[in-house]
Amino acid sequence: MTEMIWNVLQTVKDPEIDSISIVDLGMVNMVSTEGGTISIELLPTFMGCPALDIIKANVLKACKEQLGIEDVNVAFVYDPPWTSSRLTEDGRASLKEFGIAPPPKHFTGEEDWQIHCPYCDSPYTSMENLFGPTACRSILYCKQCKNPFEAMKPISTMV
C-alpha cells in the first residue's frame, strides 16, 4: 500500500516548477497507513513558500482521485530539515529540463559554488542575483550561449 501512495505522490508536482514531483524534490519524509487512514509527512523547502498550501491540497486531491481515499493526514514537519541535497537524480534532471540549474550536491557555505548552464552545460556563467522570482531560486546569465537562466539555491544545515 505505501508503495502505491509513493506512486501517487510522484504525480504531485511543484506548482511553481511543474516538471518536478514532490518526491523528487525530497519533500516527502514519511508515508504510513493505519486502518483506512493515510498519514503523509512533508518537509517544507522554504518556510515562506506560498506553494505549501497548494501542495497539501494537491496531495489530498491526488489520493482521493487515484486511490479513492479521503481519510488522509498531511503534516508539514521540520525534523529532519529539508536541504537541497535531498533532491533525487531524477529531480536534478527535471529541474534542468525546466531551465533551472540544480544546486551543488554538497554545500557547506564556505565555498563558492560553480553553476553550469542548464542549456549548454557551460561553466562560464555569472550570478546576476542571489535572489530570484521565488524563494528557492537565483538568477544567472550564461556567457557562452548568452541565455539568462535560474538556479536552485543550495540549502544546507552546515552554514
Binding site: M47, G48, P81, F131, G132, A135, T157
Partner: protein, 272 residues
Amino acid sequence: MSVKRPDDIPNNEYKEALLNLLYQLADDDFILAYRGSEWLGLAPHIEEDVAFSSINQDTMGHAAMYYQLLEDLGEGNQDSLAHARPSNERRNAILLEEVNGPGDYLTEPRYDWAFAVVRHYFYSVAKKVRVDSLKTSSYEPLAQLAVKINTELYYHLLHWKTWFLQLVNAGGEASIRMREAMDRVMDEFQGVLTLGPSGKEMAVMGLIEGEENLIKRWELALQPVYQSVNLAFPPKISMKKGDGRNGKHTADLDGALSTLSEVYNSDPAATW
C-alpha cells in the same frame, strides 16, 4: 532538560518563559518583514526589489512559524496572533517598528536606504546569534525550527553585509548617511538584544542563552566587519525610546498595525 511537545511542558514557569520568548521572536520578524515589504517598488534598483521582497517573504515565513508554535500552545490561531493583537500586547523591539522614513509608500515616500541597510544588517546578525543559540533550546519544536530558519538566514546575512560594506566604503554622501544611520540604530539596538523582564527565566529553563552571552556574541560577530572599515568598536548601544519587550511602543507601530490588518479586520472570519 528536553521538552518534546506542548503536553510535556513541566510547569507554568516554563510555559510563561517560553511564551514570552516566542512572542518576541515572532513579533520581531513580523514587523520587520512588514517594514521591508513597504520598500517594494522603491528599492534602489530592480534586482534589489527582487532580493528584498524575497528576504521579506522568508522573514514573514519565519514569523508565521513562530506564531504556529504559539498556536500549538493554545494562544489562538496564527492569523489572529499576527493581525488582531493591539500594540500594547506586542513584544517586538521599538527599532523594528519605526517607519522607513518620511512619507507614505503610496504618496511621497522619502525612505532612507542607509537606515534600511543598517537596521536589516544589524538585526540579521542579532537574529543569527539568537537562532544559533535556539538550535540547542530545551523546547524541541523551537530547536527544530531554528535549524530550518538558519538555512535561509545565511542568504540574508550575505546580502546585507554586501550592501553595508559597499555603502560604508563608498565615500561621499553614502558614508555620511551610513554613519548617521548607525548612530540612530545603535540608540535603540539594546531593545533588540534584550530578552526583556523574563530573560533570566528563559536562560534558567534552557530555552535560550542568557542576554549577556548573546550580546557578547553579537559584538564578536560584528567586530571583524567594524575593524575592516575602521569603525570604533564595540559600538555603544542604548534603548532611548523604551523597551518593546515590556509592551512599550510608538505611534509608528499603531500606524503599521492599522494598515497591515485592514483587510483582515474587514472580515476576521474569512478563510484565506
